[in-house]
Amino acid sequence: MPEQTYLEAIRGGLHEEMSHDPSVYLFGEDVALGGPFGVTAGLAEAFGKNRVVNTPISEGTVMGLAIGAATAGLRPVVEIMFIDFITLAMDQLVNHAAKLHYMSGGQLKIPLTVRVQCGISGTMGAHHSQSLESWLAHVPGLKVVMASNPADAKGLLKAAIRDDNPVVFIEHRGLYWTRGQVPEGEYLVPIGKAVVAREGEDLTIVATAKMLAATLEAAEELSSNGISVEVIDPRTLSPLDVETIVSSVKKTSRLIIVHEAVEKDGIGAEIATQVQQEAFYYLDSPIARVAAPFAPVPASPALEKCFVPGKTEIIRAVRRALNR
């Protein structure tokens, strides 16, 4: 299996799906030039500028255009760049993409993939660093996926493109240059399935995107102190695979949720609520969340660094939960 960066895995997934299905089109600012980070580099050369389409800076309309094209038989992939800019397309995404299938009583299908990159990397301040996944997970009719490693990035993206629903595919910019094994060719990660990234006995941690690596590091360090942590990557935030999490909690009796978005009404709140309902009598300690503080993302590197939860915060939360 070849080793690739997360970014290359996404590009590979796009390339394969565009070869596989002529109705897959790519829209976005500068996508034909490769985009700001080179994710789509080479695709315009391979598939033509008809299918890899540069758009004006008109996120709302480009989103609407893609939705319309989806109703008319294409399978568009829209790149919105920074997830912060999804604010500009909220009406089309929330009021239209998410609802057209339902409102039409099932007549319309919206096979749309929205690519965005989120998260903190490189002191870009409050308009280029947010993690807004829980907004989207709150909207019925949207599916929301987040990959934490190159293989999942490819497999989830391919599954997203083939899905007949609007899927928001959230990339973490801070993972773009991380490397990992990526299966070649036809490799799909099913939407709606979590994965146990590390098995353990004493406590369950659910972590998303870039927080997974921090959590695995923490788990490794804790294991040398005799604490065995099970780590779960939900991979899909909506629909959430709560069964995998609940069965882990029934084994470990303790749960911590780690994400980079602010804590308030983040995906952690949803997981906590569902787990307490399903596994209340198994829980030996309160469910804890480790997440960003309730503030816009600051620009200064010093502030930014402590804004993101890391290994230290995770270990502290684990010790508190286990009282040791």
Partner: protein
């Protein structure tokens, strides 16, 4: 041509242009060395627009700018120390490190909010103009944005409102795309804007609009001072598109300085790397301005070199100050999200 202004004022404009140029050229190595991270955008090549234009404003007026804001702040008299510290994310920065290059705000100079979402400020600028009109405080608002901002729906929405309600706002579109990469020169503004000329957009809303050469400080000053006067008289919004030629250093993904500016380049560009030489020879607004000063006998080459020397020292101090300034305390990250 030079603005019709007293000599002292012209020399002050010259100084401000030097401040912008040397400030921004100093940022590039800082970024390359990793002293600060993140995206940043430079104003180099547009000094002859921002400096004379903003000199037409009153002290109380409001300004809104975008990700490309350093030049506007400095033209308006921002302290290079505090601006540099902000860009470096330090506690002595204008926003105590919370805004950074994208979002530097200096209310005392009229900059209430700086947005990195293209066109995000255009509705906001109509808002301060609305407030000024309601409060009858005589302030006007200047909204500074690039040509790309007009592609966003927020722009026409705001132009319509400003026109409908006769709001005291100057839309100053700095089109740095003239002859730039990937931009056509005559048939259309670009592959992403069908309206051509760009001034058709405001004109549709009955906002008086004109296109000017943004490299010509005299034209900029004359046009903007007239526009400002009309706005102050209560005639409603005005739109000016100032065209400049994109600085070659901004055509790479991250800004790069192939040639550090020195006033001597105004008369001799033979030492400039060939691929960027033409820009410095004929499109560099700072060098054009210097030549005009000397040709008009408003200053000698030596006087100009002296101004430049002082500015360079000031900028070196500013960088030193910013680098030495501590980072904010981590716990500040979760504070001040509410008034």
């Amino acid at each position: 041509m030079l603005p019709k202004l007293p000599r002292e004022t012209l020399l002050d404009l010259c100084r401000r242009m030097f401040v912008i140029r040397h400030f921004e050229e100093s940022l590039v190595p800082l970024h390359d060395k990793g002293v600060f991270g993140g995206h940043y955008h430079l104003y180099i090549g547009q000094e002859a627009t921002g400096v004379p234009a903003l000199s037409c404003l009153g002290g109380d007026d409001y300004l809104f700018t975008t990700h490309r804001n350093h030049g506007h702040l400095l033209a308006r008299g921002a302290d290079p120390k505090k601006l540099c510290a902000e860009i470096l994310g330090r506690v002595d920065g204008y926003n105590k490190g919370k805004g950074g290059s994208f979002h530097t705000v200096v209310p005392s100079l009229g900059f209430l909010h700086t947005s990195a979402v293209v066109a995000g400020i255009i509705p906001l600028a109509t808002g301060t103009a609305y407030a000024a009109k309601a409060l009858k405080n005589g302030r006007i608002t200047v909204c500074l944005f690039g040509d790309g901002a007009l592609e966003e729906g927020a722009a026409p929405e705001a132009l319509n409102l400003a026109s409908l309600w006769k709001l005291p706002v100057l839309f100053l579109c700095e089109n740095n795309g003239k002859y730039g990469a990937g931009r056509a020169t005559s048939a259309a503004q670009s592959s992403t804007m069908a309206a051509f000329p760009l001034t058709d957009l405001p004109k549709a809303y009955k906002v008086p609009a004109q296109q000017i050469d943004g490299l010509d400080s005299g034209t900029v000053h004359a046009t903007i001072s007239q526009a400002v006067e009309k706005i102050r008289r209560g005639e409603g919004p005005q739109f000016v598109e100032a065209q400049t030629v994109r600085w070659p250093g901004s055509e790479t993904n991250w800004p790069s300085v192939a040639q550090r500016t020195d006033s001597s380049l105004a008369w001799d560009v033979s030492g400039v790397p060939e691929k960027v030489r033409e820009w410095y020879r004929s499109c560099d607004p700072l060098l054009i301005f210097i030549r005009e000063l000397v040709d008009a006998k408003q200053a000698t080459k030596e006087e100009i070199a002296d101004i430049e020397r002082k500015v360079k020292a000031e900028i070196a101090d500013a960088v030193e100050f910013a680098v030495a300034s501590p980072y904010p305390k981590p716990e500040e990250a979760a504070k001040e999200y509410f008034a």
